[in-house]
């Protein structure tokens, strides 16, 4: 029935993740994920891997280690003096009210963006799955924001809601709402949440559309024969069947909200007014590159890295567990 070829989801990758990420007992196989028929040789594979590993080493592992080291050092911004301060940087951070506020804002921002993008995308995906005419066009239009750089989206939205000339702001003013994201922190927060959601909606949408297309028709038809209406079928059959995609998207949205929104913040509000939208990734940048407080910035980096690693572990455990009703083709 689908008129467009929506790619099907690839089969889950099992046995890829290491034992500690995998649920339950992992059989230790000496070699996994390798072709039964391969090539001999020790040197050639290393040579093939060299470019990747070299780049990882120079731009990934060395910086990460230096960041870790720096988190335990205190460097004054002008001189060359460096002292070892142990956990002092991190403790100072955990005590500071500013950091707490930034953390609170990040959590608020992430939850709001996640809920908004996911729920709207779910409604749109359901509608797309339901309609037959014009599906390709709807999908093409709804996917456009993916192509637009987060920063460019930020500039456009900053203009739309600019309190002096922005058309959206003019509209709000005509309704009697005193909209001013340059002075009111809540308005600014709302603005970045809307911008980030507009930008990320399409990502959720396309995954949900693909997941819905992969739900076997036979199950849906069986439910219809039993007298379940479209909404009921969606709530009780389709939605549970796409649960893996739902979990995947919630994790991806969290990662997006926490780590990938620097450009949107910088382009719309620059963390302001009065740090009202200075979420964690933005604060790292401000402290490191504008306030030149390298110790504190590095300590923030370390905490962020810990968050990121935790999220990744959760992500893979979920993918591995894959609440699976075997949506197979």
């Amino acid at each position: 029935m689908s008129e467009t070829a929506i790619p099907t989801l690839p089969p889950p990758r099992r046995a890829l993740w290491p034992a500690f990420l995998r649920k339950g007992k992992a059989k230790r196989r000496s070699v996994q994920g390798i072709k039964a028929s391969g090539f001999e040789g020790q040197l050639l594979p290393l040579l093939l891997l060299t470019p990747q590993l070299l780049i990882l080493l120079l731009f990934f592992f060395i910086p990460a280690v230096r960041g870790l080291a720096q988190a335990f050092l205190l460097q004054d911004p002008f001189g060359q003096e460096v002292h070892f301060v142990g956990l002092e940087n991190i403790m100072a951070l955990l005590r500071s009210a500013e950091y707490h506020e930034s953390l609170r804002l990040s959590v608020l921002f992430t939850i709001a963006t996640t809920v908004l993008t996911f729920s709207v995308a779910l409604v749109l995906a359901f509608a797309t799955d339901r309609v037959t005419r014009g599906r390709t066009t709807y999908r093409a239009v709804l996917l456009i924001p993916y192509a637009i750089a987060p920063a460019v989206a930020g500039f456009v939205w900053a203009f739309l809601f600019n309190p002096l000339v922005g058309p959206a702001a003019t509209f709000l003013h005509s309704l009697g709402i005193a909209w001013d994201p340059n002075r009111n922190g809540d308005d600014a927060m709302l603005l970045v949440i809307l911008t980030a959601s507009w930008k990320h909606l399409c990502y959720n949408y396309i995954f949900l559309v693909a997941a819905l297309a992969a739900v076997p028709r036979s199950v849906i038809e069986a439910a219809a024969v039993d007298g379940a209406g479209p909404l009921r079928r969606f709530a009780w059959i389709t939605f549970p069947m796409i649960a893996p995609t739902v979990f995947f998207l919630i994790i991806m949205n969290t990662v997006y909200g926490l780590f990938e929104t620097f450009a949107i913040i910088d382009a719309t509000t620059q963390g302001g007014p009065a740090a009202a939208t200075s979420i964690l990734v933005y604060k790292v940048y401000v402290d490191g590159f504008i306030n030149l407080d390298l110790g504190s910035s590095a300590a923030q980096s370390v905490l962020l890295m810990i968050f990121a690693v935790c999220l990744t572990v959760i992500q893979f455990r979920l993918i591995e567990r894959r609440i699976s009703y075997e949506v197979s083709q």
Binding site: A5, G33, G67, V141, Y146, V152, V156, V165, M305
Partner: protein, 306 residues
């Protein structure tokens, strides 16, 4: 459809149309504002239809921030990142799926680890590493005593004084973004689905590993290369934080970052016409890619997410 329910269908259409309109309104207003003269752009409310000054504005943008140069930079960086990511991930995926070698597990792990830490969380240390790429080597030489050894034996003083900085260079914009665990895993996944008989046949015919890679694996991977290439092109084109940090010269930055110079701040004249004009110009290439190559783009998006 299973049953006829015209009301639900109509509601669905209505929802989708509203969503499509909401998606397009910001873009439409960007086009409108980008085509107004400076005076017209400050009117409240803003005109609803585009003005006639789009080309003049584009010309002003072109001259004011050297847009042509920035466009070229963006293109070089985006293509460089896409090509680089595909190349190194293909090679490493080939190595870890088709060879049984000593450090296979370790290599796999190193690549896997890099998946965990996005750029944003380690910007400061990475920035420092970028401005002084050889620093680790220097420390190594100092600490390992090689320098002392060489000095004692030959009387020379070995000093790695080269200060190789990637600041303001294309390599600085491209290389750090090139490592890709996602692409490596994807190609690995794909290679695992290729029948073993192909490799056996190639070996019987006496093909070397590289020959097999070039003549069999690469042609088979073409659809995946196209799909992922689009995603990585968009990724490269839309980068913001890296170019913002690593370019201090305005001529070396990219289009997306260049727009920042045109944003009216604080109490200056609120003329967004040039900003929006530049924004429209900056979004044209990636939007064209997404619309024209829709099928490949969707394939790449879904595969790279999994």
């Amino acid at each position: 459809m299973i049953e006829r329910s015209p009301w639900l269908d109509r509601t669905c259409h209505a929802i989708l149309i509203i969503a499509a309109v909401l998606t397009c309104i910001p873009l439409y207003y960007a086009v409108v504002a980008g085509s107004l003269t400076t005076e017209a752009a400050q009117k409240v409310p803003l005109p609803l239809v585009p003005g006639g000054a789009f080309l003049e504005n584009a010309d002003a943008v072109w001259n004011r921030i050297g847009f042509g140069r920035l466009l070229m930079n963006s293109l070089i960086v985006a293509l460089g990142i896409a090509a680089g990511k595909l190349a190194i991930s293909l090679l490493s995926a080939f190595a870890i799926t088709y060879f049984r070698f000593r450090f296979r597990g370790a290599a796999f792990w190193l690549i896997f680890l890099s998946l965990m830490l996005p750029v944003e969380v380690r910007i400061v240390p990475t920035f420092e590493a970028m401005t002084d790429v050889l620093m680790p080597l220097r420390i190594l030489v100092q600490w390992s005593g090689i320098s002392w050894l060489v000095e004692a034996m030959t009387g020379w003083r070995l000093e790695i004084s080269a200060n190789w900085s990637l600041l303001n260079s294309y390599s600085g914009l491209i290389f750090p973004l090139m490592a890709s665990a996602t692409a490596t895993f994807l190609f690995r996944q794909f290679f695992l689905t290729i029948p073993d008989e192909l490799c056996d046949a190639a070996r019987i015919d006496g093909a070397s590993p590289l020959r097999f890679f070039w003549s069999i694996l690469l042609p088979l991977s073409r659809p995946n290369l196209a799909a992922l290439g689009i995603i990585f092109f968009l990724f490269g084109w839309n980068q913001y934080l890296w170019p913002l940090l690593f370019t201090t010269e305005p001529t070396m930055t990219t289009v997306v970052v260049g727009i920042k110079q045109l944003v009216p701040h604080g109490d200056s004249i609120p003329a967004w016409n040039l900003t929006m004009n530049a924004a429209v110009l900056a979004m044209l290439p990636p939007v064209a890619v997404v619309l024209l190559l829709q099928r490949w783009f969707v394939k790449g998006l879904i595969e790279s997410g999994k």
